[in-house]
């Protein structure tokens, strides 16, 4: 009988690609999120407004159905234009904050609370990979209630209203997708940073809510007390609204310009990224 000398041999077979490996994290996180009843309920609720808007688009393009209700006069009222999509986006933005507050904190905070970061970073993953994988979950989730239904509505309106409408309003499609992607990027950064800042999922959720609600209050307070308008720059939701207005070609509310808002939000994202980078380190310091 032949006896072969055996020793440790490293596996040298084929490996999955970096991207495939990276997607393992969001896949598991996604499954965990979808197990939560509240997330599913909120997702379902977030779909109501797009459905209503879809119905509105249908009616707006079938005014004959409204003849009995003075359909012709309604024609002007139910015009599908930038303002219509701005209202749609603004409402979905509220749901996106609630969804981010509910789901975002569960993505990083538990890893920090359970000292699980060393486990991740002892594998072939960089911090950027980790953040990217976590962010992918939020981006996918928020996309479901923002630019995807927004695009569906735009396509629906384009197909019903015909080429003329599309030719005159094609930029709205880009504005819906681009505007929502900006919103998702901001929300994801806020949610992940809050999640990394405080180790507790519950507190991180409160922090996400507080971030948007309190900053909105602070901006209004600055505007009211100092009789200025630049306070709106401190309100990320308002700043985003101004940017969307500009993108959709709707008359912007008075106050800072869209470019000023873009600069402030970009600065905010940079600060959040720096905090995230600082907080996500696989060490624990006991003071």
């Amino acid at each position: 009988m032949a006896v072969y000398k055996r020793g440790y041999e490293r596996y040298d077979g084929p490996l999955t690609s970096h991207t495939t490996r990276l997607l393992a994290m969001p896949r598991f996180a996604w499954a965990r999120l979808m197990d939560q009843k509240l997330v599913v309920i909120l997702l379902a609720l977030s779909m109501l407004w797009p459905l209503l808007c879809g119905g509105f688009i249908y009616l707006a393009n079938h005014l004959s159905l409204l003849q009995g209700f003075g359909g012709k006069d309604l024609g002007k009222m139910v015009e599908i234009n930038g303002k219509f999509f701005l209202i749609f986006m603004n409402t979905q933005a509220v749901f996106s904050v609630l969804l981010a507050a509910l789901t975002g904190p569960g993505l990083i905070a538990p890893d920090l609370a359970n000292n699980a970061l060393p486990l991740y970073f002892s594998r072939p993953l960089t911090r950027l990979d980790y953040i990217g994988a976590r962010m992918a979950v939020l981006v996918a989730l928020l996309s479901m209630i923002t630019w995807i239904p927004g695009s569906v509505l735009f396509v629906m309106q384009s197909s019903m209203a015909g080429r003329t409408w599309f030719a005159a309003n094609w930029h709205l499609g880009g504005a819906i997708v681009g505007g929502f992607l900006l919103r998702i990027a901001l929300l994801s950064m806020v949610a992940l940073t809050c999640s990394a800042w405080v180790k507790w999922r519950i507190v991180a959720g409160a922090l996400v809510l507080g971030f948007f609600f309190i900053l909105a209050g602070v901006s209004q307070m600055i505007n009211a007390i100092l009789r200025v308008e630049f306070g709106s720059l401190f309100n990320p939701s308002r700043a985003m609204y101004i940017i969307w207005s500009a993108m959709l070609g709707v008359e912007a509310p008075s106050g800072p310009t869209a470019w000023e808002c873009v600069s402030v939000l970009a600065g905010l994202v940079v600060v959040l990224a720096m905090i995230l980078e600082r907080k996500l380190r696989p060490v624990e310091v006991i003071s």
């Binding site: 609600f213 209050g217 007390i225």
Partner: protein, 371 residues
């Protein structure tokens, strides 16, 4: 309750107060509390600086300022009032008014004209008057009191009710009171309290007292500081009249509303922290409920803490400036409840919530694994 139990409750409160006042986690609460005061101080400084600068540049008699009329030339205005405190000139291009004359369907060439704009600001000792010119012709003037006490009081009422009660005290109490039980569960330290020779109700009372003292001291001081900062730029007869009239009552009711806000929201968040594993969900629901309060029917409006707190406020808040016009139409604030009823109502709700919390704390079990 026996004297010993009262002493135990106070001992618990004392131990917890240390944490509530001094923990690093609580510093953001201080920030929320003093933010209005900081901005009002900034406003006061800006007013004072501007006033002294204007005095230095010259005062134009009120009758001269009031004599400006629309359509006047800038030269005529400057002849009568040669000392504006501010003078800005600019130019811009604007589409011409005759742009639409070419008829429907015709391709319109974009025609614009150059406009020379100028804005003169005059100061008559009390008012600041902006006079705007286009191509040298007066088109608009706007006067504003440099210090407008009534306006500032209304602004303070808005800030107090929309920011302080609805957001600062709400989130502050959320942080302070949820930390008392839910925070200890997350830290896995609650069992130390449960292993003390004290009834669970005594523990609840002690912790609630600690949160209440901390929140009340922080937010009542913050409210008074803000009120003081709002009054600070004013002096003389106006203030004398205010303090000998409604002033002390206003100060008292703002402080009382802040304190009762802590009592009400505190009890709700303490109970939520005991009853629910994720108290953020009811907190978010409550926040939305309190925010849409003004749009609800009268009866539903009265089912909110904010309604009773607003009823205690001495000055009605203006409608929020960035509320869309359509929503403003839907706003119909319920008639305020009498102050006595508001106070009693809030205390009764608090007692009820604390009773629910005390039965929850008796049943609560230590099971950190699920946190």
């Amino acid at each position: 309750m026996t004297k010993f139990r009262m002493r135990q409750a106070w001992t618990i409160a004392r131990l917890e107060m240390h944490r509530a006042f001094l923990s690093k986690r609580a510093f953001w609460v201080y920030l929320l509390a003093i933010l209005p005061a900081v901005i009002f101080i900034g406003h006061g400084i800006e007013m004072k600086v501007r006033e002294s600068r204007y005095h230095g540049r010259g005062v134009t008699p009120a009758e001269v300022v009031d004599s400006f009329t629309k359509g006047e030339n800038v030269e005529d205005v400057l002849k009568r009032a040669p000392k504006p405190v501010e003078d800005h000139e600019w130019s811009y291009r604007r589409p011409r008014d005759d742009e639409g004359d070419e008829g429907e369907g015709a391709k319109k060439p974009r025609v614009s004209e150059r406009i020379e704009g100028r804005s003169l600001t005059y100061f008559d000792g009390q008012r600041r008057v902006n006079v705007n010119f286009e191509n040298g012709v007066l088109i608009r003037q706007h006067s504003q009191n440099m210090k407008n006490f009534e306006e500032d009081r209304t602004v303070f009422a808005g800030v107090f009710q929309y920011f302080y009660l609805r957001l600062a005290i709400f989130f502050g109490c959320l942080g302070i009171f949820m930390n008392l039980f839910r925070g200890e569960m997350l830290d896995k330290t609650l069992h130390y309290w449960f292993l003390a020779p004290a009834r669970r109700e005594v523990l609840l009372l002690g912790k609630y007292l600690a949160g209440l003292v901390a929140a009340t001291v922080i937010f009542t001081s913050g409210a008074l500081l803000g009120f003081g900062a709002m009054l600070w730029p004013y002096s003389g007869a106006e203030m004398q009249a205010f303090w000998s009239g409604a002033g002390p009552a206003h100060m008292f009711w703002y402080a009382a509303a802040a304190a009762l806000g802590c009592v009400g929201y505190g009890s709700v968040f303490l109970a939520a922290g005991l009853l629910l594993r994720n108290p953020i969900i009811p907190a978010a629901v409550l926040l939305v409920w309190e925010s849409i309060n003004g749009f609800l029917p009268d009866l539903l409006q009265k089912l909110s803490i904010l309604h009773y707190l607003q009823s205690m406020c001495p000055v009605a808040a203006p409608i929020e400036s960035d509320t869309p016009a359509l929503l403003k139409l839907l706003l119909s604030p319920a008639a305020p409840t009498s102050r006595g009823f508001a106070v009693l109502g809030l205390l009764a709700v608090t007692m009820l919530v604390l009773w629910v919390a005390s039965s929850a704390v008796r049943r609560i079990e230590i099971n950190y694994g699920t946190e």
